[in-house]
Symmetry: D2
């Protein structure tokens, strides 16, 4: 058991604080022979990188990843390839401004884990939130990049994993206007161009007010074979729920129809089947591609809710380490909607959970 690891066979162990020298992770269990370069990982880190628009934190971190082990190249290998040994990834912290955080040394920021860490450990690295900072999610994205490689090697045609922001505050997208291609064209990973425009105005207003707002993300994995996952506590959906809930600020997770399923009748909810080329063809996907904890071959659909950034410029009531009542205004450079950068993180977690379940499936069932 390791509190800072996830996955069982595709296993990621993460380390690092927001304002320490670096953050990183070790990925163990990756199959050998997969072509892997730093550029393969960097591509995905760029999606999560801070400072890319005015709607995310202005901290300037290049998030350059280095591979320290587990990859080898010589004439025989035809490119750098994984060797089956642990892959150590490191990302240096270069733009930490710890003095911004002197104020919170003695105060607990509401909505943050400051008090919880203090109550548990009696010591904490308060600079930038230390270990509780969302900065750690960069290593999830890096690990997710390797997981994608594993999945692409595993499944003919590859597994397509895409995420989108589908709600900011009370503003939801128009699902009928969903176009995956739009996601890369606006700073929100919004699949609906018109809504993206509306969000721009809305979020500018939130940002100027020094406030923040929550969001909902949807991540979809297509071309996942039927049969991945397992009863009864190693369920694919249970582990997706844990993975998404482990992302900073996430407060809810749902699969397929999710909370909406509570309102359906049995007839509406149970996805009917017809036969198509020797496989079941489902007439709907209320299940979100998972039944009994096992994939059905339909797209795996997960949604998660991100609470508003707790670091806001408006003063809030709080207490000090010595239990004096006071107020706090969180300076520093923060995302007005931390949900935006959670999109690539959610994708990465989906990739990691699927890669893990692929290896687990292969263990019990062969190929």
């Amino acid at each position: 058991m390791s509190h800072n690891s996830y996955g069982h066979l595709f296993r990621v162990t993460s380390w690092g604080e927001s304002h320490g020298p670096a953050i990183g992770c070790v990925v163990d269990g990756c199959p050998p022979g997969i072509v892997l370069t730093e550029a393969d990982i960097q591509t995905w880190l760029e999606k999560r990188k801070p400072g890319t628009s005015r709607f995310v934190t202005q901290r300037k971190e290049p998030d350059t990843v280095r591979i320290l082990s587990g990859v080898f190249e010589d004439e025989r290998t035809g490119g750098p390839r994984t060797t089956g040994t642990p892959i150590s990834l490191v990302i240096d912290n270069v733009d930490a401004r710890s003095k911004d955080y002197t104020d919170i040394r003695d105060k607990f920021r509401p909505g943050h884990a400051d008090y919880a860490y203090w109550a548990k450990y009696g010591i904490r690295d308060y600079r930038g939130g230390g270990r509780q900072s969302a900065r750690e999610t960069a290593v999830r994205v890096a690990a997710g990049a390797i997981a994608r490689k594993v999945l692409d090697a595993a499944v003919k045609g590859g597994v397509m994993i895409r995420g989108a922001l589908i709600q900011i505050g009370k503003e939801k997208i128009d699902r009928k206007a969903w176009n995956w291609d739009e996601c890369a064209k606006n700073p929100f990973w919004c699949p609906d161009a018109k809504t993206a425009e509306r969000w721009e105005t809305y979020l500018d207003e939130v940002r100027k007010r020094g406030s923040s707002v929550g969001a909902v993300i949807e991540v979809v994995a297509e071309n996942v074979p039927a049969g991945w996952g397992a009863p009864l506590y190693g369920k694919l959906d249970a582990e997706l729920a844990a993975a998404m809930m482990s992302i900073n600020a996430v407060k809810g997770v749902e699969i397929g129809a999710g909370f909406g399923a509570a309102e359906l009748s049995g007839e509406e909810n149970a996805d009917e089947m017809r036969a198509k080329r020797g496989k079941p063809h489902f007439l709907s996907n209320q299940a979100g591609g998972i039944l009994g904890g096992i994939s059905t071959g339909q797209p795996v659909v997960v949604r998660f809710a991100v609470k508003p950034t707790s670091s806001i410029l408006n003063p809030r009531k709080t207490v000090t380490v010595d239990m004096q009542e006071t107020e706090i205004m969180t300076k520093g450079r923060h995302d007005p909607c931390v949900g935006i950068r959670a999109v690539p993180v959610g994708e990465a977690m989906m990739a990691c959970v699927l890669a893990d379940h692929y290896l687990r499936h292969r263990a019990q069932m062969g190929e």
Copy 2:
């Protein structure tokens, strides 16, 4: 890694099929010296037992639990006490009617895991759903009863864990009318007497139609000390999410404000603090008692959505094992709203996750 185990230090390994000779589990890691009798466990099993009202399955299972190991009594112990060695629990299946299931031997029931199991394993015990049956949740409740004992020994005043059904179909309770005492007075664990009456009529109508409906359950744990849980993937909320999502038919989980948090502003969401007897007193509980994956001392609040029972009397389109298109009507004795019996199961999972995190906390921090 074990697909059929949960918990790390308070570890439950479950086994058994719906129509096999018995179901059961092994609970490992329980501290020694705790008074434990079969009656202590039976009490909770009664809450989940089938056949207690017309709104749940009419299968007649006494669900009598036997303790086969891990408890010892002599003059010195003053009652039967846990010894710190594995506790083996067995519940016999006595009212399995396998012939009801002949029809599904060759057909995949929509909404059930029939096809997913088949796609994975190529073999399945179709009788009563075999391993995928909600019958397995009895062992969760049994394990949860032991977890409650561990928690009560751990925390002065005990940890109070209670669950309630807060929504059936589109019918929600009136939260202002919430009264925990009502839960035991109606067949729904409904905390609001008036809503319970309404549900009775509503569910009778659903049942007579041969249909089914979903539900939402809320589980609250009070008196959980601050500091339980851990960063970053061993988060208390992440593991609660996995635990609840692993229950049969669950499609969504949320903590505190949950999906509602997406609609809040930073000011509304971040729970402000005042000081009270040397501890923070929170002015709200949007966090649901967990920040950064660690408990804050506030009540831990989890909600989960249960889809409608997939076994319905109305014919549905499906395919056979040989991919012939056909229809199916699921006979057998089923719950019109499987969410009702999920209430004690949710409580049990809360108890198990908390007991596990208590032991994990004690490992790293001492007492």
Copy 3:
């Protein structure tokens, strides 16, 4: 983490006390589709069963195993087959004579774990040694029978696992006379007929003296493919060492040349290779079939030392629970050389470790 489980993907969770109603285990992770009957398991239990000769305990236990889950049979399956879900095994205790143990309720038996358990737990089931009893090894043998089935399905021609007793007290076998067929012909699993005769006389003498003696067991697995195992802490030899050391009374484990390797030169120790049908042919097997924690295709050779039975009829100095000095004579029915019945146990542990590593190999490498 579970103190009473072993294996990662072929995972055995054991429970039960010597004088409780039963002992048993849950085997999780077994691939589906393997033909498995109670008779398949019973065969191996007979080898370990007490009461088969005057050289082992006279406790009369039929050791009849029941399979409670994880196996299913109908017309389609062609015999009872594993379903991929947990297999629950139970063996009833039928000849427990707890009153024999009244004396040890208050005294710690030297060489036994009585004091250690007391120091740890502050409570113990003293009857027959409770959880520390070698009775538990019956479930290892049962689990090992399933592991053998997994291995036979995995490797063309099957994996042959055989154990032999190669030393009792100071009396060693003549390795040149080694004949596996002899093992079943004497009550010692001795591969050398002449030595077996000598041991008979020797052990009769030990037994009549009310004393006991230690032993060394060798277990060999043939036809293990090259490539099973893994760096660096999941090494095949490291896990074999743990598995054997976890057997009651074992005090030493060695692989291949073992402690003898310390006395060799580099030239003598490193097994040279020639080519044979596209594979290396090793000219010796000092390595015991494992290099760098990974199998080489040579026979896997493990030896382990078992201490003399601590239950002897001659009085020994000890203390009581209340730290009074006293003496103890251990009544009850004991093996004069517990090493004899450790042979099938060692074989079973070899089978379980190999089955686990087979699944782990398959996870990372495919088939």
Copy 4:
């Protein structure tokens, strides 16, 4: 499950290759509040460092460790202290001479894991042995330094862990002359000054011959409280066996009387007890401080055998990757007796296993 991790609650995840940019590890689960500096770790690394005498490899590695996370210092903490979050350690490789290894790119070195890795992974970093190199043991020593800190904070008076080389080739120490203080005075960690002198001549001769020789190491932990460890597969001795066997080149492990126990009678083997200040006082320590997998309060005594270095200057028969028969002479800079530097590694593994079991004990039992 992670092949490159060990420990359950004090968990070390190791990464890195002999000739990659660096090696390192992540230590998760360390309690917070422990003073920890790089110097605290460096002290122990100096003991294992190459190039300290002519009897070990001449590779010049300063083995300078950097702490990248998990430790925090400000005015409040009074020195750098662990925070309870993962501790990332990195040691750069500075003197890798990869060209020395061109020859082994295509040949399998007998006694090394070259062929085993190839058979498993189909790719390997052959430079300096890549992941199979004993260079990795530096990170074990670094992790062990932290484990010692945990133990010293846990037990009043600290846990004293010391190792000694007690045999080189056939040359054993005189146990009567054992003096721990001598260990630091000779290049062998030999506790017997006269034997150390003899070894010097002997090993010079081995070295000049271009050969190598094996060794036996003994590691003793004093002041370990009674009650650490657990039945039945989480036994303290089982996990010590795995830990020691996982060290490169180890072929045998024993606890207390070890293989010698096979030759003892029950009377000789079972350590008798007298009472002393409210605790048992054992009259001997054949058990090596562990009974039933649980510590008894006596010194924990482990011995392990290290095979001779496989890299020798004399040509040996082998095959190429393409299964051509050939010979090999292993150049590079090697230890004539790799057992010498295994002494601090064995100490470190003892420390890690004990720290892990301390946390596990605390989880189940409190303090």
